[in-house]
Each structure stands twice: as C-alpha cells, then as structure tokens.
C-alpha cells in the first residue's frame, strides 16, 4: 500500500522523477509516451464500448445491459489509471538504467475482454427471447 501511495505522489510531483538518474535518449521517452497513448486509446475504446452497449442494445434486459456496460466502463477506467502508473514506472526505470517493469495487466485485460465477448455471444444467441 505504501508503494502505491508513493507512486501516486510521484504523479503529482513531476520534478521528483527528474531528480534521480540520467535523462534517457529522447527517443526512448517518446516511445514510452506512445505506449502510454496506445493504452489511453484502449481505455477510450473500452469506454466507447460501454456507451455503445447501453445505446445500441435497447432490447436487452436492463440488468444484463447495465452489467455489460459497467464491466466495460470499469475496465476502461482501470486501463487509463494503469497507463499513467506504467508510464511513470517505465520513465523511472529508464532514468535509473534498470530493466523495464513487467506486469500481469495485459493478461488480465485480455481475460476480461474475452469474458465480455463470450457474454455478448450468449446474450445475442439466447437473450432476445427473454425480453
């Protein structure tokens, strides 16, 4: 928990990242920034999916629709916050000359997306009659 608090404090104190280590080649920083943006786009796509489920599947029972939409929205929020934290940790690792951090998050996210996709298939196949 302490580690998380320290990490969050770093988000708000940009100069503290620059205090330690050496500034890496600007190309590495830009590559890190593009990875961050790719994660933000993933988050935006998940959130857009949440809106779309709610707007374009009006025939669904409210509970199923809200559940699917909330699942997509929650994973979008997680994805966006995690994008910042991963970007900060990569930036720090590059400054210190350490290995880049590894993470379980991509595997978790792909599991969530797979579960939502299977749920969608089930809903489309069997959901219409129940309404």
């Amino acid at each position: 928990m302490n580690k998380i608090a320290q990490g969050v404090r770093l988000w708000f104190a940009p100069q503290r990242i620059r205090e330690e280590g050496d500034t890496p080649d600007y190309r590495f920083s830009l590559a890190n920034e593009r990875t961050f943006l790719a994660w933000i786009r993933t988050a935006l796509a998940l959130i857009g999916g949440g809106f779309a489920v709610d707007q374009f599947l009006p025939e669904l029972v409210w509970g199923v629709r809200a559940g699917l939409a909330l699942g997509l929205l929650a994973s979008g929020v997680l994805c966006a916050l995690r994008a910042v934290s991963h970007w900060v940790r990569c930036e720090q690792a590059m400054r210190r000359g350490e290995d880049l951090p590894v993470s379980r998050f991509p595997a978790l996210l792909s599991l969530v997306v797979a579960v939502v996709a299977v749920a969608m298939v089930v809903v489309v196949l069997f959901g219409w009659e129940g309404v």
């Binding site: 830009l30 943006l37 933000i40 935006l44 959130i47 857009g48 809106f51 709610d54």
Partner: protein
C-alpha cells in the same frame, strides 16, 4: 546546425504527434457518444449539465494534446510531464464516470 539536419531519421516526434492525434480522435468519438447518451431522453436541465461536463472533459483532453503537439515541433522534445499524462487519464476516467452515471 539547423533543425532539419538535426532531425531524427526515425521521425520519432512526428510519430508521437500522430499518436496524440489518434488519441484525440478516439476521445472525440467517446465524447460524441456521451452527448448522444445525454440527449437521449430529450433536452432537460440534467441533460444539458451532462453535455457540458462531457464537453469539459473533452476540452481538457484537447488542451493537453494541443500543448504536447506544439512541443513536438522541437528537434529533441522533452519527455512528457506527469501532469499532462495524469490530466489525459483523468479526462478519460471522467467520461467513463458520466457513462456509468447515465446508466441509472
């Protein structure tokens, strides 16, 4: 030495600028979906507040992206400030929060 001879042959600043551009386009699509959702039940005061808040989140994102894209004009841009990264992420989270609020 001029900026052109100094320019990185891998076009990293350009690629980063385009990545910001793609991301603002995605944010625009989500913001439009949010407005569509808000106005679904007709133009009520609550709907107008929701539209205004979505527009605010979208504008915040646009501002961060615009300032960052201007920085990309340099031959060797500085790395992104954490505050910019955090603002972009928070605008994204705000759009998700409105979507969740509008479900109920």
């Amino acid at each position: 030495m001029t900026a052109t001879t100094d320019r990185d042959p891998g076009l990293q600043p350009e690629r980063t600028r385009l990545a910001w551009r793609r991301t603002t386009l995605s944010a625009t699509v989500v913001a439009l979906l949010a407005v569509r959702q808000a106005l679904h039940g007709g133009v009520t005061p609550a709907a107008l507040v929701a539209v205004a808040l979505s527009a605010l989140a979208w504008l915040g994102f646009l501002l961060v992206a615009h300032r960052r894209m201007l920085r990309m004009e340099a031959a060797r841009p500085e790395s992104l400030a954490p505050r910019g990264a955090l603002t972009a992420a928070l605008c994204t989270v705000a759009l998700a929060a409105f979507a969740a609020a509008m479900l109920f």
